[in-house]
């Protein structure tokens, strides 16, 4: 496991990292050095509540003044992999909250694509009170997966949705619906059936919550269990499956060569 962790850390580098880390990293406790890197994207239309969600997941607090996200904002959550078992290990999960809408200008899209490198998991966020935001999730997932196409080939034809693509998809997905409290009681079952179809399409688990109320993710609830299972799956795919290293190393090396070619 030690060898895998070492290998994972070096091949996760896209740029030389030595000069970036400040010198006083050494003063931190040994816990820091053994924690490895996992990257999860948080995607969805603007205004669905991604920033509030990320803040809730990482700080365990409700975000007081949500404002429009420009570019990408990152936050870090400490997750205990296989909590409660003797194999328990602590990981940092980086949640990259990418702002914007699917219909933005192509210059914005190509700049956003910079953040989609070497993604280990995707959280798709939609607004339960706005059907369009759920429909746009297909386009969001295609945008993120296209950029990060692995050699097994996620072939896309003109943005048409095809379920088989997701079956071969190496990246785990999680579906989160926000603003659950704003749905009147009478419409709840209808909305929940719709999201059930959605989660079937993506082959993903779904969580429905309200980002301004931490009790939805309190320890022991089914939502917290689903979340924890998702993160475990992400970490497993990243470090502990049959051969993740050659594939990821291949794409990284390919990208690095491409970039160095243009840099001269």
């Amino acid at each position: 496991m030690c060898a895998v962790a070492m290998h994972a850390r070096t091949e996760g580098n896209k740029f030389p990292r030595g000069d970036i880390f400040p010198q006083n990293t050494q003063t931190l406790t040994s816990n820091m050095a053994s924690l490895d890197r996992v990257k999860v994207l948080v995607l969805g239309d603007s205004g669905v509540g991604k920033s509030s969600l990320v803040h809730l997941l990482c700080q365990n607090q409700v975000l007081g003044n949500p404002s429009w996200t420009v570019g990408c904002s990152v936050d870090v959550r400490i997750h205990d992999y296989k909590e409660g078992t003797p194999e328990e290990k602590t990981f940092y999960i980086e949640l990259w909250d990418v702002g914007g809408s699917v219909g933005s200008a192509s210059s914005l899209k190509s700049t956003r694509a910079v953040f989609y490198n070497s993604v280990n998991g995707i959280i798709l966020v939609h607004d339960l009170t706005n059907k369009k935001s759920s429909q746009n999730l297909y386009r969001w997932s295609l945008e993120a997966l296209n950029r990060d196409s692995s050699p097994t080939g996620v072939i896309v034809s003109n943005g048409d949705y095809d379920r088989e693509q997701f079956a071969e998809n190496p990246v785990p997905l999680l579906l989160i619906g926000t603003k659950f409290d704003q749905i009147p009681e009478s419409k709840r079952s209808e909305v929940l059936t719709r999201t059930a179809f959605l989660s079937e399409d993506f082959l993903a688990e779904e969580i429905n919550l309200d980002c301004t109320n931490p009790r939805y993710l309190a320890a022991g609830t089914s939502n917290a269990v689903k979340l924890s299972r998702f993160f475990d799956k992400v970490i497993e795919k990243r470090y502990f499956t049959r051969d993740p290293s050659p594939m990821a190393a291949f794409t990284d090396r390919k990208r690095f060569n491409f970039k160095s070619l243009h840099y001269d």
């Binding site: 896209k14 740029f15 990292r17 970036i20 880390f21 400040p22 990293t25 931190l28 406790t29 816990n31 820091m32 924690l35 239309d45 603007s46 205004g47 990482c58 420009v70 570019g71 990408c72 904002s73 990152v74 936050d75 870090v76 959550r77 400490i78 940092y92 980086e94 990259w96 809408s101 699917v102 219909g103 200008a105 192509s106 210059s107 914005l108 190509s110 700049t111 910079v114 953040f115 490198n117 607004d127 706005n130 059907k131 369009k132 746009n136 970039k259 243009h262 840099y263």
Partner: protein, 444 residues
Amino acid sequence: MFTSQVLFFGFGWLFFMRQLFKDYEVRQYVVQVVFSVTFAFSCTMFELIIFEILGALSSSSRYFHWKLNLYVILLVLIFVVPFYIGYFVVSNIRLLQRQRLLFACMVWFTFMYFFWKLGDPFPILSPKHGILSIEQLISRVGVIGVTLMALLSGFGAVNCPYTYMSYFLRNVTDGDILALERRLLQTMDMIVSKKKRIAMTRRQMYQRGEDQNKQTGFWGMIKSVTSTQSGSENLSLIQQEVDALEELSRQLFLETVDLQSTKERIEYSKTFQGKYFNFLGYFFSIYCVWKIFMATINIVFDRVGKTDPVTRGIEITVNYLGIQFDVKFWSQHISFILVGIIIVTSIRGLLITLTKFFYAISSSKSSNVIVLVLAQIMGMYFVSSVLLMRMSMPLEYRSIVTEVLGELQFNFYHRWFDVIFLVILHTIITWTCFFLSSNYSVFS
């Protein structure tokens, strides 16, 4: 006649669904209906002008349709749309949910008050007409609409050459973009590493805090106080660094987007279409300069053109070039084409501008309000463009417009347009120059 109105209504509906509300769910059909109705009646006015020139339908029926149209448009613009705007704005504010209708009426009355007051500083109140006559209402709508038109024209006059001509494009290479992207990702990595430290420190503090609770006694208390203090000081320092880095990452992101869009524009300008638009850009910039010149002359010499361009053009060709042709026949056709072009380009330009504006500022909460505001702007714009178009038509066609709209001081509107146009133009030009020069200094 009515079939064409239904057609326009359908077109407005489609435009609403396809373009404006592409990303939103339509929940209030009222908004859609109001928007389509405004669009339909505005287009009918233009259609009536065209009919006027072509001589289609009988004169009395045309007059009837004009009057009807005018009444409906004024009704919509002054009563219906502002009321709904007030209603939706009030519904968005959670506190006033209960008495929505009451507050909406209050908002509407405030609007009517200001609307009326608008007429005071301008020379439009003439004692011949009563209070609630068409002339009063139209004159006020005309003032607002003409201001809007001048605003949009001024903006278009500066923006158009800038967008079309490739002279203004900076030279951007792929290497620049890659370098910026690299910097952006490095900044994100730094943010991530600092946030990791914060998270870990916080977790340790939390765990130590739990242990501290078990430690009792005097020394335990002192130890807990000192250690948490240094911990939190350290945290706030790192947090400040993180905030600064996040601001930097935002700026880098925006710069990268800017470079990408410039690169795309450069690529586009190399295509055939791009070259065509480049040429058009030169043409338009000359036209804009001429317009500015004319506007200045009009203001300085305090005159308003008496004859329209078509008749003047024909006069010039007949007198100076000695070409004889049937004036009446040609003037009708040429003015028809000219007016048609003006109408189509202004509608298209307005719809495109409104769409861009809508995408830029709307969100799922305020989309209804914004669409209604846009419908209001569109209605006023079209009404005042009819007012101003009077100038471009030969004398015999102006009569019906004058007849229908009553005795308005048309000259005043032209002067007002020129004034606002010049003011806006100068503001925009100085602002753009300032903006451009600051941009260049950042890059060099």
